[in-house]
Amino acid sequence: MTTLIEVPEAEPGIVAPKSKSKAGGGLGRYIVIRFFLIIPTVFILVTLVFFLMRVIGDPITASQGGRLPPDVLAQRIHDAGYDRPILIQYFEYLGQLITGNFGTTITDRRPVVEVLTTFGAATLELSINALIVALAVGIPFGLIAAQHRDRTPDAFLRFFAILCYATPVFFSGLLLKLTFSVWLGWFPVAGRASTRTELAMSSLEAPSGIYWLDAIRSGNFAALGDIVSHAVLPAIALGLLTAGVFLRLVRTNVIGTLGKDYIEAGRSRGVSEFRLVTKHAYKPALIPIITVMGLQIALMLGGAILTETTFEWKGLGYQLVQYLNARDFVAVQGIVVLLAIIVAVTNFVVDIIAALIDPRVRY
């Protein structure tokens, strides 16, 4: 809640265009202001990451140092322009970013944008799956906990929520793998799909990259089964992390709305407790969830890096770790900056959705 309110408060003076529309046009103005607030956020992060990564020296020495003779190394540094003053490099980098050029990786000489398009879909798929798990677990359990406030089910569920938060994804992933893949043998140990399915998926024309979507579109149901069985464990591992947050949030908010006068009024008219919770108290409690979901995107991306490493899920996070280990800092910088932009834009979209639902948010 706090975050949403704080963002517009930050700089109302800079952009606020003199809106000509009447009272109803608040939304349009809000969207414009909120959109322009993306720019400083991204700019600060880009600057921060750029200078941090340069503090440790130029990327070529970092990745190739020791492997190449010094004169070749110096030549390559000169060719890439890393021996020029840092400010010139910085402004050049900014210019490149504006034209959509995020650099070329040093180790495998691929444009960072291509890396994103190749592996981004896998991360998106993982996040969607995890979000489904999180919502499916968090909302109903949160309602149950609120309804049985301070009694056994509530105690149990709250403890479960804290446990979800306290368990790092890679540990829950490890436990899930041990139990369901190694001992019970129900699900595959790692990966996004078996080799045959991956081949089938990559031979499709114009694939979306999200495997289950592609499988459904091409009507390949054998592949779909394979994909789902691969997706279950990672989705649970990452989803539970967020489920705990949702559960607590739904609980707190439903308890809050349950104390409102209109609930009391409903109760006095004989509306059943169950209906009060599921119908009357539930909807207003969902608004903060949408807001917090924006924050969760950042948390999920962090979790996705760990989940992908745990399950060898070949997404952006997995790839990022590969580049980190190879000390390819151009790739790391590119991916990090891209992720920063994605997070900023998602937060923007989430804020707009929240504003559409709850008019009080627009200013």
Binding site: E11, P40, A155, T167, G256
Partner: protein, 337 residues
């Protein structure tokens, strides 16, 4: 805030300490959660202090008088929790790991407290362009995935090399950068609220300097929520440390024991059904974070009159009320920060 404290009889210092005072006004389930949390956190701290006595072997010990340790041995009499691929004793590494975790928590929370509180006070009190810039920067960092930021910082600091203190500081500093915006926000918001309070006004009228007002009048009142933030951030610090270790940015096994690093190594073991290398460090993380979170959550709930248990008629008298009439909504409520 300060006014009720004047009217109500002052409690002895001991019962005004954060956790103790909360324990007193808790009931039933909430008290149970708080106690479990305190016990777990206490165990964690004790283990870290007495690690040299508790651990059967050193964290990087590979052999003893009877020869080198077997590798990947299942739990047995000699190695209660088994040994790893490298031949380390799992139990010893789990115990020593608590020491690493505590050190990182102390260093990182101390650094972020200092920076975050100082910046928050200055920014909130003076406002102006400094405030605007700091808010935008803090918001930008806050919106960023914490783990990614921690990775970038730890590359910058340690560049992969990691002695014990090098590793500790690079982890702690990465965590600090992530936390400073959170402390900053809370303290700044409180400062802005307090700035409008009559007692600040009267201090100004009396001619107190800005430094004195900030240091004496605002600081004490604005830092009320810090015990809560401390516990919540301590648990997040452990998770970040473990995450960094898991991705290979932690501390070398020969310099210190680190749970996340051990879990990373254990990942390869799972497919062959070796469970003890991963399960025990994992449980250590979960129990520690659980303990700290339970303490933090309970403090949070007890500070919030809307959530606090309602059945407290009789029993404890007045002291419950002055605690926190206007607790600002805490980060815990807005989901994990």
């Amino acid at each position: 805030m300060s006014t009720p404290a004047l009217t109500a009889p002052r409690q002895p210092l001991f019962s005004r300490l954060p956790v103790i005072s909360h324990l007193k006004k808790s009931v039933g389930l909430q008290r149970g959660m708080l106690i479990v949390g305190v016990v777990l956190s206490g165990l964690f701290i004790l283990t870290s202090i007495f690690a040299p006595l508790l651990a059967p072997y050193g964290y990087s010990q590979l052999s003893d008088a009877s020869g080198s340790f077997p590798t990947q041995q299942a739990p047995s009499g000699q190695h209660l929790l088994g040994t790893t691929v490298g031949g380390y004793d799992v139990l010893s590494r789990v115990i020593w790991g608590s020491q690493t975790a505590v050190t990182v928590i102390i260093v990182s929370v101390a650094m972020s407290l200092f920076l975050g509180v100082a910046l928050g006070l200055l920014s909130g009190y003076f406002g102006g362009w400094l405030d605007r810039i700091l808010v935008v920067v803090a918001d930008a960092i806050y919106a960023f995935p914490t783990l990614l930021l921690a990775i970038v910082i730890s590359i910058v600091i340690s560049r992969g090399q990691s002695s014990f203190w090098g590793g500790i500081f690079s982890c702690a500093f990465s965590i600090t950068v992530v936390f400073v915006p959170q402390y900053f926000r809370v303290i700044r918001a409180e400062t802005i609220r307090l700035k409008a309070e009559p007692f600040v006004e009267s201090a100004k009228v009396l001619g107190a300097s800005s430094i004195r007002i900030i240091g004496r009048h605002i600081f004490k009142n604005a830092t009320r929520t810090l015990p809560l933030m401390f516990t919540l951030n301590a648990s997040e610090a452990i998770l970040t440390l473990a995450g960094l270790g898991f991705l290979g940015f932690g501390i070398e096994p020969t310099s210190a024991a680190e749970w996340g690093f051990d879990l990373n190594k254990a990942l390869a073991d799972t497919s062959s059904g070796i469970w003890w290398t991963g399960v025990f460090p994992g449980i250590a993380i979960v129990l520690t974070v659980l303990g700290l979170t339970l303490v933090g959550e309970s403090i949070n709930d007890l500070n919030d009159p809307r959530i606090r248990g309602r059945k407290r008629a009789g029993g404890t008298p007045a002291p419950g009320t002055p605690a926190a009439p206007t607790t600002p909504s805490t980060p815990a409520e807005a989901g994990k920060p």
